[in-house]
Structures are given as structure tokens and as C-alpha cells.
């Protein structure tokens, strides 16, 4: 089903949201007439046109539906072939899998030229915005007080900027005193950050919680154990 293929592909779409070589995708068997190389090549060209015209990410199921004929695996093969040809031929396009769909994007190394053409400044994401959206992304749905407790500063203004930018949305209220609003990230969030879905967020740094670390340190002090707590302090910005 869609989900299967999507997840399968997603493994190749790692941190930078690029579709990788898709090496271990099962290659379609040549016995079906529609999956011969030329047929796949033609299908790839059709899909390319469709994606260009859409602009927005298109779920696999919608491509299959619109193509009305080729099977899912053939469409997947076409997508893979398209993606590979972009890479192989050093083209200016990349096929990415974001926000649950396929999208054509400019090659990241050409960002400079595209920006020069379009003019204007790229939308700024300040550190408070990034930190706040990160907290919401990992903990959603979550409330303003939760965010403020983590960041130690007021979050009102940042939240409203994020709402404006459509990176987050209100999804309801928490059943807690004061019935605070609950925030979650949007599909725009996935698109902006080039994420296939929320599961694709890298795991939060494995630092455990402070109580554990303090206990570990105490153990260490008494037993002279390993340096379990060491990584916590260093990898913070990489600048010395």
C-alpha cells in the first residue's frame, strides 16, 4: 500500500530530505509490459510533468490515481528513475519526499542563484522560533506553559509568529487547569524543513534526565566508573 512504499522510500530520504539512490527498493519485474525500461522512462517523464505542475508535494496515491493505469510499483520505479537521472546527470532539480508526498525542488547547491533571481530575503527563522518549534515538534501537542518551562522565557510572541508563519497550529485545549491551548506542527512545517513526516525528526539528544545523570555521577564518584555523563556538556555548539 501507499504507506509501505512511502516508508520504504523514506528510509532513503534522510536528514537533508533528498531522495537517495533507493538501492534496496525491489526492482519491478520486467514481466509486466508496463514496467519495461522505456515504459518506465515515459512514465517518469509524465510524473515529472505532473510534479512540476503541482508544485506542492503529491502523495503517491494521487499520482497513481491520476495516471489511471500503471501500478503503484511502476510509479515508484518511475519516481526512482527520475530521481536517479537528476542526480546522475547533474541536473538542477531534485525529487524529494516531504510532507507525505513527492515534490520537485531546486538543487540545494543552486540556492544562491535562485535567491538572486527571486530577490527578497529568505524568511528568517530566529533562534527563539526554532527552539519553540522544535519543542512543539517533539512534544506535540503541547501548551504554552510547557514551552515556557523548557525555554525559561515567555513564549507568547514567538507562538503568534509561528502561527502566522503557519508552522504551528492550534489543535485544541488541554484538559488541565486553565484549559490551555494545545499547539502542534503543520504540514507547512514538514515542507519547510524537508521532512517526510514527524517520525523523520532526528531523535532528541540522548542525555537522559538530570536526576539520572546526577545519580550516575554519584555512582561514578564512588565506584570510579566510566565517563557516562561526559557528552552532555561538550556538544553544544561546536565552537570553542
Amino acid at each position: 500500500m501507499t504507506a509501505d512504499l512511502a516508508i520504504n522510500l523514506e528510509e532513503h530520504v534522510n536528514g537533508n530530505g533528498r531522495l537517495g539512490p533507493l538501492a534496496d527498493e525491489p526492482t519491478p519485474e520486467p514481466e509486466t509490459p508496463g514496467s519495461e525500461p522505456e515504459a518506465i522512462g515515459r512514465l517518469a517523464a509524465i510524473v515529472e510533468s505532473m510534479l512540476l505542475a503541482s508544485g506542492a508535494p503529491v502523495p503517491l496515491a494521487r499520482l497513481v490515481e491520476a495516471l489511471d493505469g500503471p501500478e503503484r510499483r511502476e510509479v515508484t520505479a518511475a519516481l526512482r528513475s527520475l530521481s536517479e537521472s537528476y542526480q546522475r546527470e547533474g541536473r538542477g532539480l531534485r525529487l524529494v519526499y516531504v510532507a507525505g508526498g513527492y515534490q520537485l525542488r531546486s538543487a540545494p547547491e543552486h540556492g544562491h542563484w535562485v535567491r538572486r533571481l527571486l530577490g527578497g530575503r529568505p524568511p528568517r527563522l530566529s533562534r527563539p522560533m526554532l527552539e519553540t518549534v522544535a519543542i512543539i515538534a517533539y512534544r506535540q501537542p503541547c501548551t504554552r506553559p510547557e514551552i515556557e518551562a523548557i525555554r525559561g522565557v515567555e513564549a507568547d510572541a514567538v507562538l503568534s509568529t509561528l502561527l502566522d508563519r503557519r508552522l504551528i497550529r492550534i489543535v485544541g485545549r488541554k484538559d488541565a487547569p486553565g484549559r490551555p491551548l494545545l499547539y502542534a506542527t503543520t504540514k507547512d512545517f514538514l515542507e519547510v524543513f524537508g521532512l517526510p513526516d514527524l517520525q523523520a525528526l532526528p531523535p532528541l539528544a540522548e542525555v537522559g534526565d538530570g536526576a539520572d545523570l546526577l545519580a550516575a555521577r554519584a555512582d561514578e564518584a564512588s565506584a570510579g566508573g566510566e565517563d557516562g555523563a561526559a557528552p552532555a556538556a561538550d556538544d553544544d555548539e561546536g565552537t570553542g
Binding site: R62, G111, V114, G172
Partner: protein, 275 residues
Amino acid sequence: MSVPCRVKLEVFEGPLDLLLHLIKKNEVQITDIPIATITDQYLAVLEDLPELNLDGAGEYLVMAATLMYIKSRMLLPPDPDEEGEAEEDPRAELVQQLLEYQRYREAAADLASRRLLERDVFAARGEPDPGEDPADPRPRVRDASLADLLDALRDVLSRLKPPPSHAILAPGLSVEQCVERILAQFALGSAVEFADVFSPESTRGEVVATFLALLELIRLKVVRAVQQERFGPIQLHLAVADLAEAQARAQEMGQVGMVSAVEEESDDGRPGDQS
């Protein structure tokens, strides 16, 4: 040895950020903060400020108090009355907070390092995808600007019936009441035409109060005013999950008690005409 720390407060995103900076600068472990040194440096940073921006300073001052409290507790010998078993490290809570914050700070840096749409990579600007996720409706429309709204208001005002020759003063319609009226229209559907918010029977005063209420709702992000194209008709959408949400939010965020003593003719039996 407290190194004078000449940094502007503005570069820090809050007291936790400042603390993490000091911890890193001193090359110490979060889990083993030399609380006296860090507290001194922390206070030095605060003192270095030419003037405390009172808005942002509160959070820093609270942290300063916390640090001094922890410092004092660490100076005290363990309380003999408290059966000394697991006496908690006074720093534990702060450590936990710092670690938690640091995790998200790293996650944020990680997000920022991705190839961001419209910054590093670009997509074709196509037509809206009609089959988009219904759970995340994202109409590809532009937000109506204040100028657009004012144009639309002018339009509404121009279509008002001329005031009757005998105006009878009736109690004014408050902006709060107008907020309720506007929201009530969303009971019928998730989108309302800008023009439908105003009844042609309204008085100028009513229209103005309704318009103010609308601006307030937009400001509170309860309602979104959008249009498909410049100078096109303006549509209002709920910007929150549902109507109950909108009403709660409008109430909660306090409609700044804008009591508009709007004068109007006694003209209540107005038909709720809606096209």
C-alpha cells in the same frame, strides 16, 4: 575567579541560554556546576547591562535568585535532623532544566541546519493541490491586508441605507457584542463572506463596531481574512480548531474592554438576511 563577561544580554535567549553559555565557557559539566563561580559570572553579566530592559529582565532576575538560593543551600552543612539518607543535590532541579533545554536547543540547531524551503531549496509555485490533506486545510490564498479590509469596509459603508430622518438613540452596540455576532455566523459554516458580516440594515455605528470587532478577532488570530486575489472578495475563516475554541479564545484573550458607545437608531427587528 570571575572572568568579566562582556556580552550583551540580547544575544541570549533567556536565563537558561545564558547559563549554558557560562557553563560552556568555564568548561564544566552541566551535572557538576561550580555554583559559586557561575552565580558570580551570571550576576556580573546582569550588572553589565547599562539598563535593564524590564520586560525581559524578570526571567533573568528569577534565575539569579534561584542561583543564589542554591549557592546558599550548598554552603549549609547537611541538616542533621533530616535523616541524611538521599539528600538531594540542591542543583538537581536546575540541572534537569538545563539538560532539557539543551536537548531542544540542539534539536533547533539541527532543524536550522536542514535544507530549508525558500532559503536553500525552492519548489515550483504551482496551483493549489485540490486533494490536500483535509486535516490541514491550507488554502493557497493571500491574507487580506488592513488596506484591503478598509477598502471592503468602505464598500459596505457606501451600500448602507441612508439614515432615517428621525434618529432615535438606542443603547450602543459594544465591540464585544459584535465579536459574538461575528462568531455566531461561523455556526453555519467555516467560511463567511466579509460582506455578510454586515447587515445592510446596520447603522454606520454598528458597521464600525463590527469592523473593530473583526480587526480584534484577526489580531487575536481567531479569524483569518483571506482573498484569492488582490481586490477580490474577502472571506473570513476561523483560524482555530472550531467555534467553541474561537469563542473561548476571544473571551480568554480579553477584548480589551473597548466599549464603543455606538449610537444607533432603534431598529432591532432587522431580518437576519443572509445571501
